[in-house]
């Protein structure tokens, strides 16, 4: 038996009151840690998907919307641009590489993207089973989708028009699954990828049923006249171009160019304000939790006054007895910190399940962030501060008077 063990026994003997005195601390730590986790997870997710994309070109509209739709696949596209216009940009000497993107259909809410094979390389996506698409209407399915919807090779998918499940169904034209992707931890996990021709064909047939008879060459010719794409992901030859080139496009053409890293930092600034307010609120809760802990310690000390006097008569020094109170407080706040962390992880799981439902995004990480170590330091500090007065009172306890009172 020693003072530290005695502190632990004191806490365990009153589990309910111990937890109650920590409720606010757990709450405060939980909120801050949740915000930190979400912030870092969303940032990593966003950055992960930004790799290799310097600029996005699409139809005029909101640049943020263009980024969200073409890079993250969570917003509607701004519109379509003509293939010809896109080609002019592609041929500019500043452009290193480019990838066309075409939207038009979805399968059960998951977007079908018509694109080039380079798109797979961009996200480092590997074929797990099957092969890449060779012909129109052949698709490769992202890992999230094929595991969730139980899709296998040779399945035929009936797509719906537009980006929502409720769109008109293209039941006459079926997509054939030829490949399944490995998880890549990027947006491609929740996409169905196919050739641009698939989308063109599908909507062409739709719009011009009578042109069915055209042979392939003719149709190809026709492509160059009025084919459209939705957006184009561009990587520059030199990072220097990022300043000048987007402005040129925005000013001189009827296209819109947006720089993802810039738009995303703008987005973070926007909802950073909300996060900041919530964080301040949580810090306030932690300060209040310090008071609650103090009141709890103070009361329990008064209840146990006779016990304290007894411990002194058994030979404890004043310092040992004060240490007992300080230990109790520190153990409580440290435990509170870890429970708070646990709560925040449950919160992350909850938010992740919400995001997965509405945005087809998921977040998963259970490491401890550096900022959370600061929260541990803060918890210990709160424990120290709130135990100072009770510890001093115990230090100055008049044993004789306390024993005689009983």
């Amino acid at each position: 038996m020693n003072i530290f063990k005695l502190s632990i026994k004191n806490i365990i003997s009153k589990p309910l009151s111990s937890i109650l005195s920590l409720a606010l601390l757990i709450f405060g730590i939980g909120i801050i840690s949740l915000l930190l986790q979400l912030n870092s997870l969303i940032k990593t997710q966003m950055d992960n998907n930004l790799k290799g994309i310097d600029m996005v070109v699409g139809a005029k509209g909101s640049p943020l919307q263009l980024i969200l739709s073409a890079v993250y696949h969570i917003d509607s596209p701004t519109g379509n641009i003509s293939f010809e216009d896109a080609k002019k940009i592609k041929n500019n000497r500043m452009v290193g590489s480019s990838i066309d993107l075409l939207y038009g259909d979805n399968y059960k809410g998951y977007r079908i993207v018509g694109t080039e094979e380079k798109f797979l390389e961009l996200y480092n996506a590997k074929i797990k089973k099957g092969r890449k698409w060779n012909n129109p209407l052949e698709v490769v399915v992202g890992s999230k989708i094929h595991t969730k919807l139980n899709i296998s090779i040779d399945d035929e998918l009936i797509s719906s028009h537009g980006l929502r499940e409720t769109g008109e169904q293209h039941s006459d034209q079926l997509f054939k699954v030829v490949g399944l992707l490995e998880p890549s931890n990027s947006v491609i996990d929740q996409l169905i990828v196919t050739s641009p021709e698939s989308i063109w064909d599908l909507h062409d047939d739709h719009d011009h049923d009578e042109e069915h008879e055209h042979d392939h060459d003719e149709e190809h010719e026709h492509d160059h006249d009025d084919k459209e794409i939705t957006a184009m992901l561009i990587k520059f030859k030199s990072p220097m171009n990022i300043i000048q080139f987007p402005r040129q496009i925005n000013e001189n053409t009827n296209l819109q160019a947006a720089v993802p890293s810039y738009e995303i930092s703008r987005l973070f600034k926007l909802f950073g304000f909300g996060i900041e307010t919530l964080t301040y609120l949580a810090y306030l809760i932690i300060i209040v939790s310090g008071f609650s802990l103090f009141i709890n310690l103070f009361n329990s000390m008064r209840e146990r006054k006779y016990e304290m006097a007894l411990i002194r008569t058994l030979g404890s020094s004043r310092r040992q007895l004060s240490m007992m109170i300080i230990f109790e407080s520190l153990i409580l706040t440290t435990v509170g910190f870890f429970i708070g962390l646990l709560v925040s992880r449950l919160g992350v799981m909850f938010v992740s399940s919400l995001m997965e439902e509405s945005l087809n995004y998921n977040l998963n990480a259970f490491g401890i962030l550096n900022e959370e170590l600061w929260l541990l330091v803060l918890s210990i500090f709160i424990g120290l501060i709130s135990s100072i007065i009770p510890a001093l009172q115990v230090y100055n306890l008049n044993i004789s008077e306390t024993l005689a009172d009983e």
């Binding site: 005695l6 006779y306 007894l310 411990i311 030979g315 020094s317 044993i399 004789s400 024993l403």
Partner: protein, 207 residues
């Protein structure tokens, strides 16, 4: 071995006490008897070093305890003095055994064997893992005595150990205290207003 000289203690002008000198040789027990409000508990607290006297000296086993610092006094008390309180008190978050272990830790005299010996000598060995709150009154009192003697003190101070007991139990408790004191080589000083105890002590002082 226990000597006090001209002990004075004053709470305020209405409550000022001066105590008769005590002279107690080795292996002698003492009964200090006096009615309520006469400063019995004050004297006990002075002897235990829980209070510092205003004047006079207390010499316990060659140590003038009025000259000790607070820290030294706490140490001295833990190692040499066991106190049996009027009402039994324990650290309620600990079991009987853990209470005794705490006393040993604080008195710096850790020994598992001794806890076992004392509890069996007091006939409460089977209660060692119980919370003291769950013991019967008699068991509590015995556990309280165990707390007082666990560190083999030279002096056992008992404050009104029998005041709330009937004759039969009074007899039993005082005999138990004396037996434990002689068994573990300690001197017993009982402070009480209970005249029934007179017959058990050769030496007594009236306040």
């Amino acid at each position: 071995m226990i000597q006090t000289k001209k002990l004075n203690f004053k709470y305020n002008d209405q409550a000022a006490f001066s105590f008769p000198d005590i002279n107690l040789g080795k292996n002698e027990n003492l009964l200090i008897i006096g009615s309520s409000g006469i400063g019995k508990t004050t004297l006990l607290h002075l002897l235990a070093g829980l209070l510092q006297s205003d004047s006079g000296s207390i010499n316990l086993y060659g140590q003038d305890i009025s000259k000790l610092t607070q820290y030294e006094l706490d140490r001295f008390r833990g190692q040499n003095i066991g106190i049996v309180f009027q009402k039994p008190h324990f650290v309620n978050s600990l079991t009987v055994k853990e209470n005794l272990q705490l006393a040993q830790y604080l008195g710096n005299k850790v020994s598992q064997g001794r806890i076992h010996d004392i509890l069996s000598s007091l006939n409460i060995l089977d209660k060692k893992n119980k919370n003291p709150k769950k013991l019967s009154q008699g068991e509590k009192q015995r556990a309280c005595i165990a707390m007082a003697i666990v560190n083999s003190p030279k002096l056992i101070l008992a404050d009104e150990p029998t005041s709330s007991l009937d004759d039969e139990n009074c007899d039993r408790v005082i005999k138990l205290l004396k037996k434990q004191a002689s068994e573990f080589n300690a001197q017993l000083v009982v402070i009480t207003h209970d005249n029934r105890l007179k017959k058990h002590f050769k030496k007594s002082i009236k306040l």
